[in-house]
Amino acid sequence: MKNFSAYVSVLLLGMFAGSALADVTLLNASYDVARDVYKDFNPLFQKHWKAKTGENIEIKQSHGGSTKQVRAVADGLEADVVTMNQANDIEFLADKGLVTKDWTKKFPNNASPYTSAMVFIVRKGNPKGIKDWNDLAAPGTQIIIPHPKNTGNGRNTYLSAWAWALRQPGGNDAKAQEFLGKLLKNAPLFAAGGRDATTTFMQRRMGDVLITFESEAEMIAKEFGKGEFEVVYPSLTMQTEFPVALVEKVVDKKGTRTQATAYLEYLWSKEGQENAAQNYLRPRDAEILKKYSSFFPPVKTFTVDDVFGGANKAFATHFKDGGSFDQIYQSK
């Protein structure tokens, strides 16, 4: 539905607004909650590009679930660039030949201009004293998470808990799976998506802890008030990346390679990094990270590449049919 309305709005925008004024038009296919980030970023780039080259550039946005967006691009949505929240979605485009195989090398930092971390949101005063992943598996604690198999947010939570269990003394895959089994038993439901989980926790008051992106915490503060909850940083959590890539086939066809590349590179500029920080996404630029350090307390993180040997491998081992998640739900 969201996807569809995004298309429609893109179409309408194209028909009524820019095209006549713009020399070049770029389409950025992006994940759902990236709206705010790019709404602020696009005008910055337009100004920058106009000053540098004198060219008027128009940027259209298409938002939707990451996997759905990627499938739309594979099916012919002419996006010049994709800005996603999961590496395996871009890998899918690489497999289809739309994106170059070594896309992670085309831009700095694994082609991810900013990051976030999975954190715990607990009720005010932290009545259950939740500090780390093992507290989530304790009897009597209820956790609220989106579906671990079907949503990026849920998968990040699952992998974070798994990595934490692996790093415990004597930790191994079997123990990690057992730990996840206990932890998932504490989930009274699997929410349909990240925002649905937030609503269930904050508005319907279910559960003792919500696990979500650090950047979502600020959204919750805006929506529900700062005094309603606390953010808890576990001892180890996933550094989530937001990879970007050029859609080679489209930029070659449209002749927009220069502009599209510049657009993505600009995400790493001071302005781009500052914009990310203002949207509560951890910038890669050390200086800007320091400037906004009050937003971003230090946290020990791992990357999917470190622990799981890449996004594709992690997906195949844990979330494909018959993977570790399904095994947990096979009757004993």
Binding site: T67, H147, A187, L189, F190, T199, D321, Y329
Partner: protein, 291 residues
Amino acid sequence: MSRKTHRVLPGFGLALGYTLVYLSLLILLPLGGLILKASELGFAQIIDIALGERSLAAFRVTFGASFLAATVNAFFGLIVAWILVRYPFPGKRFVDALVDLPFALPTAVAGITLATLYAGNGWLGRFIEPLGIKVAYTPLGIVVALTFITLPFVVRTLQPVIEDIETEVEEAAASLGASRWQTFARVIFPAIFPALLTGFALAFARAIGEYGSVIFIAGNLPLISEIVPLLIISKLEQYDVLGATALAVVMLALSFILLLAVNLLQWWAANRHKNDEPLEVAAGKASGATV
């Protein structure tokens, strides 16, 4: 010696051609594509996917909840339709318009609203949860969502049929000595039964495919509250289009068999009724009087 029948309105050929093209484009083409795609998998593989523990549980939840929802609506929808047709009351038009709302409301909105209502702190949930009845995030929640979504089908199919039954028929039955129950069971019910079945079948079919509202209230726990459409989405998340089509085809086949059964039952009911006596005679019989 052509046996061509004369029709009052011309254009039968054109209309038939149009009907066939329209149905082919809208229904047969997508379904054909689906089946073609699924045929890349062997029959054995499709069955394998459908008979997995998770899929079996999901099929049970989907068809069970849909059946319950359609049954609930068949019963209460009948009452609503009866009231709306037979009794004048203030605000009747408004109530009548309300019935269509579930059609107009985006299903995701319906799901989120119902989940909020029935959650432990919701307007309804706070009263029924202390009684030990949990609706939100349980299979019962699925039934509630599906009942909401499919309400108009039964009411809207029954209304015109009930309008066609003249009150005189009831009066005739009564004047011939039929009890109230006899009048309902032997006179009215046989006349509306085929339409009731149609409404039931429509509601049931709609419920099976429903995704948008259910995922927000179901809880989506494996083996407990996962519906088949969720498993299909889950396969698409893995870029496993083949697996998704396999599940879809099995769902389609099951739905088709069930709908066919309902249609046969309906045909049987309608025919039995047709070969029977006209209503007035039935009215007489119900009362035991000789005609």
